[in-house]
């Protein structure tokens, strides 16, 4: 074991240790799945299931957020629905969904979805991915490149931050939600107003939004932030395009929204456009606000 040089002189008081710790971004990671390929026969479904224990967090620490991180590639006509069951409470929730579609062409990426609204550290959970092939003629493939559970935690301990160090805080704005978008229409799905919490000794520096959702062809759900100076909503992150022949879409948008914080408040909305002649669904996987503070 490497013993720290604890008797070396330092300009810092020992009581400030928890503050410096608060500057550091701690997380615990649980591996759920490595690479696997699932071939789904024509017009059928298949499912893959994983039983895992969520990592615990240390005493004296505070849970920030727990996310499921899924990296995949999927074929056209393939749809997925990810459900998580908390075996300690028997609560099951859908946490991610992408509908099958012929224009769902070779979609890939790494996406996150929040599960800490019903899963706690150390819980035993079951993750099931139901994979659907809507093609009546051909088999299609769903590939998991990896799946992880990430548990973020911090040590605030109610003390002041140390000068010049950084800390971060996560606010879960939205967990998985399904919306029905009315045919040939557009409008606001939901509005949010988030107050930036204060941390003793720290000043708010930056706000990042993590926005993950999936939409169908010819529809979009945009995340729009309120510009108080010009009194308008500004369209920033978007999921999908409301254009004919645009593929079904799944997007993970990371956006710096610091410029939209006024009076320690961030206001934004989900705005949809559906240019289809029928109602379609949109699935918000999660919206997480990541706040960065600097010690002064």
């Amino acid at each position: 074991m490497h013993i720290p040089k604890i008797f070396e002189r330092s300009p810092f008081s020992s009581s400030l240790l928890p503050n410096l710790l608060s500057a550091i971004y701690f997380k615990r990671v649980k591996r759920v799945s490595k690479f696997q390929s699932v071939t789904v026969p024509a017009s059928s479904s298949s499912s893959v299931t994983f039983d895992v224990q969520v990592p615990s967090i240390p005493p004296n620490s505070e849970l920030e957020v727990i996310v499921l991180k899924l990296s995949f590639w999927l074929d056209c006509y393939i749809g997925i629905e990810v459900k998580v069951t908390n075996n300690n409470t028997n609560v099951t929730n859908t946490v991610a969904k992408l509908e099958p579609h012929e224009l769902n062409v070779g979609h890939a990426g790494t996406f996150i979805t929040v599960i800490s609204h019903f899963v706690n550290p150390n819980d035993s959970i079951t993750i099931s991915i139901n994979v659907t092939n809507s093609d009546s003629a051909n088999d299609h493939v769903f590939i998991i490149n990896s799946m992880l559970i990430e548990v973020f935690f911090s040590y605030y301990q109610g003390t002041k931050m140390l000068s010049d160090v950084y800390t971060r805080k996560f606010i879960v704005v939205k967990t998985y939600t399904s919306y029905s978008l009315t045919a040939n229409s557009s409008g606001t799905l939901e509005e949010f107003s988030i107050s930036i919490p204060k941390i003793a000794g720290g000043i708010f520096e930056q706000a990042l939004i993590h926005y993950v959702c999936s939409t169908l062809s010819n529809s979009s759900v945009q995340l729009e932030f309120y510009d108080s100076v010009n009194a308008v909503y500004v369209s920033t992150c978007t999921c999908g395009f409301a254009k004919a022949n645009s593929p079904q879409h799944c997007n993970y948008c990371i956006q710096n929204v610091t410029n939209f914080v006024y009076d320690d408040t961030l206001s934004f909305r989900l705005y949809y456009v559906n240019n289809n002649n029928v109602d379609v669904n949109a699935y918000i996987w999660s919206i997480v606000l990541e706040l960065l503070y600097k010690g002064v």
Binding site: P4, I24, K34, C237
Partner: protein
């Protein structure tokens, strides 16, 4: 687990040096590089429009260009970012750029770093294929921005978007920011109740490569996953950020140290005429491929399933090495 000191045992030592107690740990913070916005490009014409700042539109002298495919309407977004001077006990470890957003059909994008003193540009990433098949593509790129230790704190960033659509304007949403990873100076110290994540750039931007029809190529890599000497990490993740035209497959093979053979550990299949997602980040679990001495060997195989020459680029391959104490 060895009997590690816990976080709250330390304050009992009156003269504890905090920087020693946390030696080797990393801080992560982000800087805005390009102001996020919806970028609307006019349809390709004989005029060239340039944004010299995110909000100011300048029209340059019209340039006659006969072939609209090679004369796209171009938007250039530039910005200068100044990396903060760090306190004495910190040093920069790695600075990554992260591009996210959605790019419209017919649009192609390029990302550069430039030297603010000399104007020299360094090509860092490419995304969007500029044809009708790149409908609403995800853009998720991750790559190394500058080398560390830093010699300059001020850097230029430049985003170029080209619209090849001669019939209509386009709209793309692009966000660029820098993720700065700084290290607390000193040797690493394990503390119970903490975690440690190292980031290594295994492959930096390869540039745009041409691959002949019905052929394949590969990029080998090797790294040592023991960020803490002689200590096996709990999790090792590879993040592959790539760009490719349609019909290109990416297969990541890793050497299984037990069997001695390479195994498929990550895959993107691009063998579709309308394949999208041609620039994104694949996350691959490499934990089981760490040899006893910490070595991870592998290669990225790139396969062109088309009969004509196609393009690809590996923007970055980054290892995340995670310890839990």
């Amino acid at each position: 687990m060895p009997d590690l000191p816990t976080l709250f045992e330390f304050p009992k030592y009156v003269t504890l040096g905090i920087k020693n107690a946390l030696s080797g740990y990393y801080l992560v913070f982000d800087l805005l590089a390009i102001k996020s916005q919806a970028v609307t490009l006019d349809k390709a014409t004989d005029q060239r429009y340039i944004f010299t700042s995110p909000t100011v539109l300048h029209t340059l002298t019209p340039i006659f260009l006969s072939d609209p495919i090679t004369s796209p309407t171009t938007t250039v977004l530039t910005n200068e970012v100044e990396l903060p001077q760090l306190p004495e006990f910190l040093e920069y470890k790695l600075i990554l750029f992260i591009i996210s957003g959605i790019i419209d059909s017919y649009v192609k994008g390029y990302f550069y770093r430039y030297d603010v003193d000399t104007g020299t540009e360094y090509f860092k990433a490419i995304f969007g294929y500029g044809d009708k098949y790149t409908l609403s593509n995800n853009v998720q790129c991750l790559g190394k921005f500058v080398d560390t230790p830093l010699t300059k704190y001020k850097h230029g960033v430049k985003l170029v978007l080209e619209n090849y659509n001669i019939q209509e304007s386009s709209k793309s949403y692009i966000n660029v920011y820098l993720r700065c990873i700084a290290k607390i100076k000193g040797d690493f110290v394990s503390l119970r109740g903490t975690s440690f994540e190292d980031s290594l750039v295994i492959v930096d931007f390869t540039g745009v490569k041409s691959l002949a029809g019905n052929s394949s190529t590969s990029h080998s890599f090797s790294f040592n996953a023991f960020s803490i000497p002689n200590k096996k990490p709990d999790v090792v993740i590879l993040e592959l950020s790539y760009y490719s035209s349609k019909f290109i497959d990416f297969n990541v093979y890793l050497l299984n140290p037990v069997s001695g053979s390479y195994e498929l550990a990550g895959q993107f299949k691009g063998n579709y005429s309308q394949a999208e997602g041609r620039q994104t980040v694949l996350t691959i679990d490499a934990t089981d491929y760490v040899a006893n001495d910490g070595t991870v060997d592998g290669y990225v195989e790139v396969v062109n399933n088309d009969s004509t020459t196609r393009e690809y680029a590996i923007i970055s391959l980054i290892a995340k090495i995670i310890y839990t104490f």
